[in-house]
Symmetry: C2
Subunit: 385 residues, 2 copies
């Protein structure tokens, strides 16, 4: 897409030229104009007590006339070690999953008067490092991170210096800090058990980067279900490293092109689900799809999903960080948030017949509203394949 514009662009002289950049008024100038001391002006503008009504009014008028704004940089430098910002490092704000996390975090921080600086890393460990460094220099009051890297020892000293550090979505490496994750393994297991109960045996898996712990945990859950059902050779049907829609669609197509193609797919996140749905759209024999992550049109499309609430995860993580700021010095905890299998039927599609399965499988139906058990970072252990 291109666009026309109604004015020619001037090359521009580097380093903040651009016409006369007028002077920004300082507090001292406001004070002078109002005929008071610097400190009185400060008090008036910060609406501190012990300022006469008339004086305060005069100062505020002077400030308005000058177009004055308090300088938060100076205020925060002077009055403490941390700024009134919080930092959030995620994979990609453009991805609905992360953007809902961001929304939840933002709401809580906003309620506390903190503005949120968000950085997307595209799940690149190096970019995570750079983003975090920037936030630390900026003296954020709290730091929330969806880890891409494997080792977060570099944040240990920050924690020791009193910075609240909270991890989301994936456990951090080699650091003992507050962490909020989903019950990836149980959620995935429930999804695959659902497909097994519906009579499927050749169940394909389309997943994200294999280096991501969430991916590994979800594959582990898939394996749990398959092994419990006594299904062999499921590893053939696993396609990982599908990080975008096209890769996911291709992964799904590859699976369906196998000599004995899968009759169902488990897609391990929202992008994989969308990609797979594209791949199977219009196919005569559309395989059944169960996806991890709920999405807006899943009900319309009748797609069964492993649902959870990313915004809530963001809120909880933010609240934990704020509690630390308020002096909570209890030991770091890992909170495992439950998932919920939401079974849906494609419109105009008869649900496939449910074949009888062994009892051990039948007993473990959808984990509706399962209560999370605390688990200490065991998700990292999910080593499968």
């Amino acid at each position: 897409m291109t666009a026309s514009s109604s004015g020619p662009a001037t090359p521009g002289n580097r380093a903040g030229g651009g016409g006369p950049r007028p002077h920004r008024p300082t507090l001292q100038e406001v004070a002078d104009r109002a005929g008071v001391s610097l400190k009185t002006a400060s008090r008036a503008l910060n609406r501190e007590p012990h300022v006469a009504e008339a004086t305060g009014e005069r100062v505020r008028r002077a400030a308005d006339e000058l177009g004055f704004r308090l300088n938060a940089l100076a205020r925060e430098l002077r009055s403490g070690a941390t700024s009134t910002t919080a930092g959030l490092v995620i994979g990609d704000v453009g991805n609905p999953y992360y953007s809902r996390i961001a929304r939840g975090v933002e709401r809580e921080m906003d309620a506390r008067g903190l503005q949120l600086i968000t950085s997307s890393t595209d799940d690149d460990p190096e970019r995570e490092r750079v983003a975090v460094a920037g936030l630390l220099e900026r003296r954020v009051a709290a730091l929330l991170v969806v880890p891409s890297s494997e080792d977060h020892r570099y944040l240990e000293s920050e924690r020791a210096h009193g910075l609240p550090v909270v991890f989301l979505d994936r456990p951090a490496g080699h650091i003992d800090a507050d962490t909020f994750v989903l019950d990836d393994r149980a959620g995935a297991r429930a999804a695959v058990e659902h497909l097994l109960k519906a009579g499927h045996e050749r169940i394909g898996l389309v997943g994200d980067f294999s280096r991501l712990s969430t991916h590994r945990a979800r594959v582990a859950g898939h394996a749990d279900a398959m092994q419990a059902a006594g299904v062999q050779g499921w590893e053939t049907y696993v396609r990982a490293d599908c990080h975008d829609l096209d890769a996911a669609a291709q992964g799904a197509r590859d699976l369906l092109a196998l000599p004995e193609p899968p009759t169902a797919l488990f897609t391990t996140n929202n992008r994989c689900t969308t990609g797979a749905l594209r791949a199977v759209a219009g196919l005569p024999a559309r395989p059944e799809i169960v996806g991890f992550d709920d999405f807006d049109l899943a009900d319309v499309l009748g797609v069964t999903v492993v649902a959870h609430d990313p915004e809530e995860m963001g809120r909880l993580a933010a609240r934990a960080a704020l509690a630390r700021l308020d002096g909570d010095d209890s030991p770091p905890r890992t909170v495992v948030l439950p998932t919920r299998l939401v079974v849906r039927t494609a419109p105009g599609t008869e649900p496939p017949p449910v074949r009888d399965r062994p009892a051990d499988l039948r007993s473990s139906g959808p984990r509706s509203l399962a209560v999370a058990r605390p688990r200490e970072a065991t998700l990292l252990d999910a080593e499968v394949r």
Copy 2:
């Protein structure tokens, strides 16, 4: 959703208690430890020239040992009027439309070394005011705003003080500043003409808050098409103020419950489209839907949309802001980005027969890749209903 956690929360003493908050090392301490002056330490850590290799190395080692981080607040306070942050004010990061804008802005700012502070306003003018004030105090290097309020004169003095201010998605009020908007009116007109050409006459409209200029412009485009086709009484089929999915679904249901229900719907943004799709899912006679904004599963669902690229809009706006920072002092411009009608057919659905329409209508088909014409904020004039 609830979750259990593995540790009790302590109420916490206000104001940054939380165990012994150790001292954060300063540059002076690093310098002392390395046995150099403060200024030499500064030069070494900022990798400025004129520092002996050995000296630099010694300083950086001392910094590492102390866990030192430069303080961006202090640096930026000392070295200029603006920080290395940029501000973005949008409706809701959790909404894919805005989050893609945010992504585009973030990419450009990141390339320039600016971190992005994002605030969601829920399209509330008062919250816009508060968010902007916070960003200004923080001395953001540039400010990008999706306007919720009607009057942005309060930003004129900031612009005069040299702050690049750019508006996105909707024109600002009473201020002459760079603006990037969509060709809402033409896009809407193309959408409705498409439906008219397909033989529909009773075309419902489900839209957002009527106070939003984008809504008004899209209704105007709807009106353009209806009037050109000589269709009367279309106003009966307009439902506005559907700001969330439920409201949109309800709006669609209301329309379909009319004595003479519409046979097609034009939904004026992604939320309205999703809501309407929910409302019509499973209906025996599903009305045809054309939506403003493309979305991930539109192809799978076979929904015709008015497509455009929010991320690109974000990038362009960010680039314009950065150009101003680099001294571009050309007159403010308004860039109208084109939309593109993407026609899709629902899977398993025969496209409805195309009735013959008057020639004036046939001549104005889908505006595929229409080139935008510059327009000076005329979108605000879209007064319909």
